[in-house]
Amino acid sequence: MKAVCWYGKKDVRVENVPEPKLLTKRDAIIKTTLTAICGSDLHLFHGVIPSMQPGDILGHEFMGEVVEVGTEVPNLKKGDRVVVPFCIACGNCFFCQDGMTALCDNSNPNASMAEKVYGSSGAGLFGYSHMFGGYAGGQAQYVRVPFADVGPVKVPDSVSDEQALFLSDIFPTGYMAAENCDIQQGDVIAVWGCGPVGQFAVRSAFLLGAEKVIAIDNVDARLCLAMKGGAEPLNYEAPDFEERLRNATGGRGPDACIDAVGLEAHGTSLDAIYDYAKMAVRLETDRTHALRQAIYACRKGGTVSIPGVYGGLVDKFPLGVAFNKGLTLKMGQTDVHRYLNPLLQLVESRQIDPSFVITDRLALDDAAAGYSTFDTSDGCIKVVLKP
């Protein structure tokens, strides 16, 4: 079968690899009908995520048709159309049973690697480095899905592939980011980064009752798409950006701020250039310019919600600002399983059509081009790949 494989920094290739087979009785094999490149795949593309190996199959946003099930997967049968969460969860441990499926105790076979770096390990992830399990990903014609009795949900015929696909990651991720803001009546939410997760955060904030959403980016196409979702656009490169943001919230600052940027933030201010320099010489692993801005801008007693991915050490983190303003910080990988059914219902009842975010539709064979377009082209917001 064909699969998108990682071979190094800015080097992904479509290769012929053996088809997957069932490895445990809780596995299923899915024939991929649609898959996507995630913003977090670009972190792999840039080589900033450790423990990747040449030949690793990429991709954690995928859906498809069930072709084979293990003996302990009673919920699925051959022919079912399903969408699969990017995090792998056993459903039995303390964390899974409490809804924190991204923190599953049992799904990362390489937990000892993550334990060395993070103290303890979260869930295994599809196609996202060996530290997170080394699972073959979904940018392939077929995928093995472990714990298939817990993860995949069936998609009704009334929902198309393009509408269902993003339930695997970015829609729940944007939604959890907004939910973490604990939105109250009248709240103004600011969203840093209008990539796919930011776009879903904007729309989710409105679904959860936000009064106003301010979308922050420097790419016109992204700001325009956020405006279509009802947000007020704000370019962070504007000279008086911080003042504008304050004034747009009656001088209070946003009630909650969402950092949908993560560890590779762009910026032109002094601290952003300092981050670039330190990251270049590996004194720092993550650039946190957007997060710093969010913490400074947030109103007193507000919440900073972080769906953007961070991997390691950060420098010049304004903890004193967060402390003195009594901020709440919430973050973490998305517990996708918890959101699948409620969000699928929102899609089914036409309250949101997640396909709005797609800008580029390519064949799986053209994945390498898809990665570089997504990396470099301003107009490209979301790439989907059809095997």
């Binding site: 049992n106 076979p109 050490l313």
Partner: protein, 284 residues
Amino acid sequence: MEIIRHKHQLPNVGKVERTASVAAGVLLIGKGLRNKGWTGTAMALLGAEFLRRGITGNCHSYQALGINTADAEKRAAENGGDSVSVPHGSGIRIDEAITINRSRADVYSFWRDLANIAEFMEYVESVRILGDTDNRMTRWSAKGPGGKCLEWDAEIINEKENELIAWRTLDAAEVANAGSVHFKDGPAGRGTEISLEILYSPPGGSLGAFAAKLFGDDPAARIHSDLKRIKARLEAGVLAGTDGQSKGPKVQGEETAERQIHVDAVSKASEESFPASDAPGFTH
């Protein structure tokens, strides 16, 4: 993991060695005092340490490595008739705890069937129940350092249903060990807390274990992984894994054990970041 040390410096050097130590000490001090300069001083100081070691019978390096030649002599004098598996003041101790999201009765009965446990301990090949009346005697075989096959017999010396299992190896075991596992309810119904304590004399003595640890074959980490597998088996029923999954073709000249390289890389990055409280996000 810790190598057993004592606050009070008990004698840990045998009589023959102590006499030799005193003689070497006197000789070195004598030579040292005749020589002028740094070498003379160093020799005299070393001599003084040998003298102290001989007179007190306590050797700091032996203590650091968990070696005790005094006890070995005593046991030899008693015709090898020791009543404990791991003599007092020697050996290596491992303490590990884990919480399993199952009832105490489930976890206990799984553990009490020692054949189950062997299946999830990476280096244990098999455990055979020796067929006594209450299944207390077992024969273990394991892969030792360097792939050497090791065998020993063990007996359960204390058990309280759903609370405790304690064991020790029988006389002349190649890997003398003793230990206990305690089972306790987690708070507010949060599964079962297991505390495992193992005391063992590894093959090749403490020096062998020390060398094994230096070369990365860390028994505490191994036991930790074993416990995580038992937890996964009890909670999820299956073990997560990727052996046998698909992968892109290898690049020419990359036939080496990549996995180990990457494990080392993460470990190295982690060491370099110490004592920062945060984790590094790079390895190259």
